[in-house]
């Protein structure tokens, strides 16, 4: 019992219990007889004082057998986030960063344009942008990100600083993007698809991006004015210096600092590099070879000197990557440094390399909207005089070759072929020519409709002969015999003078690099050894900018050497297609090798009592030399 706080001396106290209390009537006994407050006597015992003290209580921990565990503590802490970064050269201009507040001081520099209508927006939205893809040999993440993070070409070219004469075609965007991201590349688009502008624009973008600073363009000499014109048209702001003049001047130009683009021809490049001590030779970020088939012979001086050029990137441009043999590609690949020196890859390996380093599009695929080219081969019978001359020449020639026995060389056969081909053009005695008759008939139609035609022949002599006989069409003559200075005015006259209905060109001079898309007719008066060169010739007219169908007429005389040459060339087409892919339907760049030239005739030499088949002694490809 606890002592009462109010009356500690009294051990008794009233305690009330908050429990229901039964009524007196319900008690089992009579409570009226019980005294509820009995008197209590407290005796002094000396211990009463102790009742005023609190008892001492000691606490002791008692193990209840229950374990208490704490929850692991957790704080909202995260490991530091690491970042990986890539800074682009242009960023230098933006460093150090300005405070964000400065942005508010920016002035409006251009009034906000009126919102374009939804049509134009939709048009842009539909068109798929051309994204740059990292080259397959870009291994580092930084290199790959560099390309992935570039804006689509359409956006890059939309900047006001890049003024272009007209919007590039989709395949050109693709080509520009491909070149931009390739260190070693062979752009082998079919002639007329705009390789020149793709190369110029890719160079322009690389210069802008600071990835290259010094470029060397090497091209055939006759094409230098063409390139100068194209650079003016597509990249007016780029200074291009042509390496020309006397030796001292050229040396000065080679070493001139601050010139982004140097242009020269193959001959000058070879001569100057050979004369220059190796230590003094200029270094380039990019070397571009136009008409790169010029280095197809890997042992030629041109190929050797070209490979020695100090450079970081190597590009080749050609519409005819293979003119004669697939192996010609190897020399180009060697320049591009994608095969080892003296490597001899087989067809399968070449095909693999082609997939990786060659971009080739044909007009069939790339320019579906381009007016078509209609081949209208004219199979003609020789005139009687021609027929007689041809038969005699062939018989005599074959007999003569057979008589030579083992002494016969490919040159001897070649001479016979040339003689026969000339007779198919016209009979030298009577000047009869079934081709000329057909040509005049066709030209009358062309002239009547105000059209213009280009005629190609292998021989300048034939061109001059034709010029005399086509006077009613006011012919112009353009071949290697025409001085270089007079050539451009001739082309301008052909373009601008409506009375000049035909231009007579040699394959060698007129087939490459010229833009004659205002002409709607092409005549191939005689067959070239190499369909690639024929295609080059045809594509002077059938190229971007052509607005009407180009009609191509090849004159082929029945039962003559021309038919046989054609058959051999067609047979070779399949082999070359296997290297350049199925898409390459135009590039039948295959000419005849020595064995094939021999095969045109059934040549046998006397051997003892019988005969034996005569095989070529000269392995060298005579036809390619001729081409």
């Amino acid at each position: 019992m606890l002592p009462d706080q109010d009356n500690p001396g009294n051990a008794t106290r009233a305690v009330s219990y908050d429990v229901p209390c039964p009524r007196p009537s319900e008690f089992p006994f009579d409570t009226s007889l019980v005294e509820l407050s009995p008197a209590v006597d407290i005796y002094s015992s000396g211990a009463n004082v102790a009742l005023n003290r609190w008892p001492n209580i000691e606490c002791q921990r008692v193990d209840a057998g229950l374990a208490v565990w704490t929850v692991p503590s957790w704080k909202p802490g995260w490991p530091k986030v690491h970042t990986v970064g890539l800074a682009f050269p242009e960023a230098i201009e933006f460093l150090p960063p300005e405070k964000p507040k400065d942005d508010e001081k920016l002035e409006t520099i251009r009034p906000k344009k009126k919102k374009t209508d939804s049509d134009s927006v939709d048009e842009n939205a539909v068109r798929r942008p051309t994204r740059l893809q990292p080259p397959s040999d870009a291994l580092s993440l930084e290199d790959r990100l560099f390309y992935i993070l570039q804006p689509p070409l359409e956006t890059m070219l939309a900047g006001q600083e890049l003024i272009m004469p007209f919007e590039p075609f989709p395949h050109q965007y693709e080509g520009i993007g491909w070149l931009f991201s390739q260190e070693n590349a062979l752009l082998a688009d079919e002639m007329g698809l705009g390789k020149t502008m793709q190369m110029i624009t890719a160079v322009r973008l690389l210069l802008r991006g600071g990835q290259i600073r010094r470029i060397l363009l090497v091209c055939p000499k006759p094409l230098i004015p063409n390139w100068q014109r194209e650079f003016r048209a597509w990249a007016e702001e780029l200074p291009v210096v042509t390496v020309e003049g006397d030796t001292a001047r050229r040396n000065l130009i080679w070493k001139m600092p601050g010139v982004p683009i140097l242009m020269t021809n193959y001959e000058v490049m070879v001569r100057d590099m050979e004369a220059m001590p190796e230590a003094e030779r200029p270094k380039f970020d990019l070397v571009v070879l136009d008409e790169a088939q010029r280095i197809k012979n890997r042992d030629s001086k041109t190929a050797v000197v070209t490979r020695d050029l100090k450079r970081k990137r190597s590009w080749c441009l050609t519409g005819t990557p293979i003119e004669n043999r697939p192996e010609e590609l190897v020399s180009l690949f060697e320049f591009m440094e994608v095969v080892n020196a003296r490597a001899t890859p087989d067809l399968r390996q070449l095909s693999k390399l082609a997939d990786k380093y060659i971009l080739r599009r044909t007009k069939d695929i790339a320019m579906k909207d381009m007016p078509p080219k209609l081949d209208r081969d004219a199979y003609l019978d020789l005139s009687p005089a021609q027929k007689y001359a041809y038969t005699v020449a062939e018989k005599e020639g074959v007999v003569q070759l057979n008589d030579m026995g083992d002494q016969v060389t490919v040159q001897h056969v070649f001479e016979l072929v040339l003689r026969l081909k000339q007779i198919t053009n016209f009979d030298p005695l009577t000047n009869e020519s079934s081709k000329l008759d057909r040509l005049i008939a066709d030209m009358e139609e062309v002239a009547a409709s105000g059209g213009k035609a280009i005629l190609f022949s292998q021989w300048t002599k034939v061109l001059d002969w034709l010029a005399v006989r086509l006077q009613q069409f006011n012919p112009l003559v353009y071949h290697g015999g025409v001085p270089t200075k007079k050539r451009e005015p001739i082309l301008a006259e052909f373009k601008e003078d409506p009375s000049k209905h035909i231009i007579l060109m040699s394959y060698g001079t007129g087939a490459v690099g010229l833009n004659l898309q205002f002409a709607g007719y092409v005549f191939l008066f005689d067959r070239w050894w190499n369909p690639a060169v024929e295609d080059q010739a045809i594509n002077r007219a059938h190229r971007i900018g052509q607005t009407s169908t180009v009609i191509v007429t090849r004159f082929i005389c029945n039962d003559t050497i021309e038919e046989r040459i054609d058959a051999v060339l067609q047979h070779k087409r399949a082999i070359f297609d296997s290297v350049l892919g199925d898409g390459d339907v135009e590039d039948a760049s295959r000419s005849l090798n020595a064995a094939e030239i021999f095969g045109l005739f059934d040549l046998k030499a006397k051997h003892g009592k019988g005969t034996k088949k005569i095989a070529p002694k000269v392995v060298k490809d005579a036809s390619s030399d001729a081409a």
Binding site: V81, F88, A91, L106, V121, N124, L145, L149, P151
Partner: protein, 189 residues
């Protein structure tokens, strides 16, 4: 164009920030800073951040907004040398970054819809009014309506048909490329 105004033009820096989930709740973020033509100036991306189970439980629905908006976005912005004048994002969670930095951030709702739209979270509450930028419509943070004037000022220096979706796609592609390269690379002990 006046030379003075050209100087100003060159100072515009557009930021494109996005984040993607790779694999099992690995989050990576990327920020691309471009000039007004969309040409890249700098790119930063984070290493993957993967929340553990405890973090998932305790953060609940705020986990992804926290990782994207606070952790990744902040780290990227701190790290980048060329600070953007404006940030566009395709992740609504990154809009939250606006509460921590003084740079306008706008959210490309259409891009998010076409791409990987995040699960509905608290972040969507911060999406404010629409604003036109380039040829797209973006949304601002609802608490920072004053950003409108800054965004419009920058917008005036861009072409009206500038495509602002496209750079965000580039960032996404770069993130995937980075992750594929990193995961393909053998680990060095």
């Amino acid at each position: 164009m006046a030379s003075g105004s050209k100087e100003h033009k060159e100072q515009i820096r557009l930021g494109f920030m996005t984040a993607v989930e790779i694999g099992d709740r690995n989050y990576v973020g990327g920020l691309l800073v471009t000039d007004r033509f969309g040409r890249p100036l700098e790119f930063q991306c984070t290493t993957p951040v993967k929340p553990n189970r405890t973090q998932e439980l305790l953060y609940g629905p705020t986990l992804v907004p926290f990782i994207l908006g606070d952790l990744l976005a902040k780290a990227l912005l701190d790290r980048v040398s060329v600070k953007p004048s404006l940030i566009m994002t395709s992740r609504v969670e990154i809009l939250q970054l606006r509460t921590k930095v003084a740079i306008p951030i706008i959210y490309d709702e259409a891009s998010a819809e076409s791409g990987s739209k995040p699960a509905q979270s608290n972040s969507s509450q911060s999406v404010g009014q629409e604003i036109r930028f380039g040829r797209q419509t973006f949304r601002m943070h609802e608490d920072f309506t004053e950003d409108q004037s800054a965004v419009e000022r920058i917008s005036q220096q861009l072409s009206d048909d500038a495509n602002m979706h496209e750079p965000l796609e580039r960032v996404g592609e770069a993130l995937r490329e980075t992750m594929s390269t990193v995961t393909a690379r053998p680990r060095v002990a």
